[in-house]
Subunit: 326 residues, 4 copies
């Protein structure tokens, strides 16, 4: 075990609200433990190109409430090659960085895992993704904020005048995971959620829609996860228009606004706790683990476990959507 005197911190992949709160916590907790901190910009890309800056406690002042990430993120093809990773390793040596804290989703942790193995280099990961699709943690940084953003948008749509037979399809993020669509539907009181985990046959969609109107509701709101499996809101809308030409179908695509916004209290507290835990883990000689939270307790999850496993959705919520849109 080598003593860690200096850590690097980076955010990578799609950004998520709360990443700044995590950067702040990692930075301040490191400094509190007399560890130097270097901020690495634009993820693995900036690690290779050397976009690196010394971070003092002031660098992370007044950022806990801000969306996005002050460290920026970027995709990085080079880091997928052995040559790119070698360059990154050399840069870390050159900068005197003894360990890395990386914040991001599946792709970020996969990169971290390969790099850590290749160079026997200590890395701790924080789960930062609005999709909540990492195994080993009950919740990821950014998920709660995105969920609230979606809910507030749906609330506004429900405000508008209710005309008969009007069907709103609202596309939310979640390429492989229906957490946002399903929980968003419960939170917003929507009539249905179409998610990648459940292949919805044409008949089921029809049943959902028709039963909605049988209940003599004025209008129905359906959340659709943006996914090849679901076809997205546009795809579903096309299908419905073909089957029910009389329906007045409207589509809203929330897009990247789901990634933004000031983080919620839950995301900030989660990010703060996880940021402190990352430093604790490094001091405890833990490495190549993702910090997770399970039953409100901090846990260490090996990268391989966090990445490879699918996190199941709570199927009771599907029933909840159905029962509560009665």
């Amino acid at each position: 075990m080598t003593t860690i005197k200096c850590i690097g911190i980076l955010t990578s992949g799609g950004d998520a609200p709360g990443m700044n709160a995590a950067v702040r916590a990692v930075t301040r907790c490191a400094i509190y433990n007399d560890i130097e901190v270097k901020g690495i910009y634009r993820g693995y890309k900036g690690l290779i190109t050397g976009e690196i800056e010394q971070f003092k406690t002031q660098n992370v002042s007044n950022i806990i409430q801000r969306g996005g990430t002050i460290l920026k993120t970027a995709r990085c093809q080079e880091f997928r090659t052995p040559e790119g990773r070698k360059q990154a390793y050399d840069k870390l040596k050159e900068e005197g960085i003894d360990a890395l804290v990386v914040i991001g989703g599946d792709g970020t942790l996969t990169g971290a895992r390969i790099f850590a193995q290749e160079f026997n280099y200590p890395i701790v990961g924080l789960p930062g993704t609005i999709d909540n699709d990492l195994f080993g943690t009950d919740v990821t940084i950014g998920y709660d904020t995105a969920l609230n953003t979606i809910m507030e948008c749906v609330d506004k749509i429900r405000d508008t005048a209710t005309s008969h037979d009007r069907l709103f399809f609202i596309e939310v993020m979640g390429r492989d995971a229906g957490f946002l669509a399903l929980n968003g539907a419960v939170a917003a009181g929507a009539e249905a959620a179409i998610i990648p985990e459940i292949a919805m046959e044409k008949d089921q969609l029809a049943e959902t829609i028709e039963s909605g109107f049988r209940k003599s509701k004025n209008s129905s709101i359906v959340l659709v996860a943006e996914s090849e499996v679901t076809g997205g809101a546009m795809g579903v809308a096309e299908r419905v228009k073909r089957e029910y030409p009389s329906f007045d179908v409207r589509v809203t695509i929330l897009g990247h606004l789901q990634r933004g916004g000031s983080p919620t209290a839950q995301d900030r507290i989660l990010a703060s706790r996880m940021g402190i835990a990352a430093i604790d883990a490094l001091l405890d000689d833990q490495r190549n683990v993702m910090i997770g939270i399970q039953n409100d307790q901090i846990v260490y999850v090996p990268f391989s476990k966090a990445i490879k496993n699918d996190k199941p959705i709570n199927r009771d919520l599907l029933d909840a959507v159905r029962i509560l849109s009665l």
Copy 2:
């Protein structure tokens, strides 16, 4: 001049935040002046079918802050026919309603104008539309809220990580008028607004985009008014993708969420003042006028004038968008 003992109130067309505040003000100010109030549901449709209810002051309690309209709105083909309007007139007589206050946009006021002429019936209109496209009033009820909603959405999109050459096209409402897109672009600090009033040639769009990137900005945000003239965000995005295949183009369609949400202070105050003014106007024997606000003063605008004229946008704001996105 006949004494007005009972008025009817209805909201019609696309709903707008602040309509409830207007309904509240009309109702309470009428009751304050010992005039009876009847709420008519679903616009002209409910007038014909008789979906009418006596309104007391409690009926409008706790609604000033709510989006949508408690009176609902609907489209109504029948009211476009002489037969339909005759039915409406008979219903008004039957219910003992001496005058109408109608809240809505261009279509609503057009209907009111025809009806008022046909039956020599007193009507006062309130301008309720998020598009701000009524002549004779500086601002319409709902516009300020929609503008803030758009701005908050764009704020969230700007939060997300800035990748090079990423172009966001955000579609906002405004079929015939660019107020929301143009003012939204100023308020959100967007790089450009594409609006129906200004036919933007392919070259100009290119110039706008390229100059944006020349300034070495990381990403650009363009607001696009949903309109046949502009082609909408999807249309513009298609054109850009063809010309600049290297750009990472993203589309967000805000859709009906722009119509919802709790009204802003400006919309509530405007609606409250206009609602009081509507009763004042009727008591003052004014009729067949829209209540407008000009230079912060209440004015009466003949229906014909409010409907027929185009309200010009402030072209200085186009310069503002260009200069401030420097």
Copy 3:
């Protein structure tokens, strides 16, 4: 075991965001299971006076997003007397109500417990209080919303110009429990939290404040739980002004605005799940239990256990506040 054909539902005590979502879920899940629902207004008071109304699914339409409670709440001295409770029991019999679902905090559940024992009457409770001070559930309905409301207020205060030696004391709710003050301080990045669980000696307060200024921060924000133990924000401010006359001390008392606002996604989902669970529990012949959530699983907590035990705060968060305000 008697078959339950009709339930009554009431909210009582200080209201909490999410109560409406719970009322909606209980109502719809009951109707889904062919159980009749009666809404009881103003808590135990309306139960005694018979302010009771049949609830259909439409009665709870469009309320999931609304703060407060459509059933109102009230304090009720009569229910604390055997005579009052007897009247309540007679009213339940008269109305044909076979079981009660009550939503509220400590006082509400205490009343429920006494009543249930006295008359051997089936009651299920839902924990609805922003203070989060009920044992047996990780979180109560309303807590997450209040926490976010507090955080957003503190965010605004931090926005304002930072003058040297300015100290803001912000009073938040939590007469006996520091959850809101402590978690609010972490979420808002405040410099300290003064909570009833930790008697803060004058010296500690001084140390906290002085260390804050030693760090050359421009201004400090301290959250103070409204409590006799802490003395409230005004009390703390007086002490500090006496000790540090040079400080520019400002006080904000958030007051009842913490109880309001549209509930967050977490509160709505929690309330929806608990509402469904309440009906499930009654169908399962459970009674005189509070529905709790532990490790994301629904649990049944005997009233006595929920009321009598103190829920401990997470002391790690005290360290987090200290470390992160570095």
Copy 4:
């Protein structure tokens, strides 16, 4: 007339949302016109001490949406002395700053006026204050945001359960001007506003309160401007408690949270237009004027006129509060 090659910009006094949008607009419009920009920190204080930094267009990126002011503000006793102002003047010469744009309220413009006369130095002022108490402009930067903040807080308070005879007194800013309290009361549907412009006799307050309860409202909300004239919310509450011991009186003091928050669309557009106008004015050889907006047109207001005159409130709104709380 000397050509202006370099301007300085500062914010001073109590900060107001939209100041950053103004700083951005001034900076970018100056650079657009090939004028150099220097940002001066902490108002007149930083001018004297030389806390001055060159501003490029990037310095004002991504600030339009942020509350507070990136330039900070401070009170400055030295600038009230001829010696202090001489130091400031010397610093301006030393830095090569040819003209100043100052953003603030009454005190800021008073300082600017004296300085401009003393040294025959060109200054343009922007009205930045949440109180809206500057003459010559219909509205000041920050007012609309503060008004919306107040309204949202009152909305939350109204959400909470309505108990009989409960009276909420909510203290808002406005030492000398009742704009926020009066317009806030209209926007939030409050029962009354107590403002410095109208000396409310004990009898009137009693009348207001009693008439409120006569209307059998469950609870009443009164906005009180923080002022020696009104006595503030605590003062009014004390008086009421003495007169009506049976009332359940609650006090909320919003305090500095009214100064914070992301600016509204209106404030950002106003600040952007005024910022551009400030540079236009300097290029047009205007000086020692405040930029105002009247009837949506930019105007130049001599400092003396802006400062010395009282802006009247719209008394119709007092009637509106009374009629609409029927």
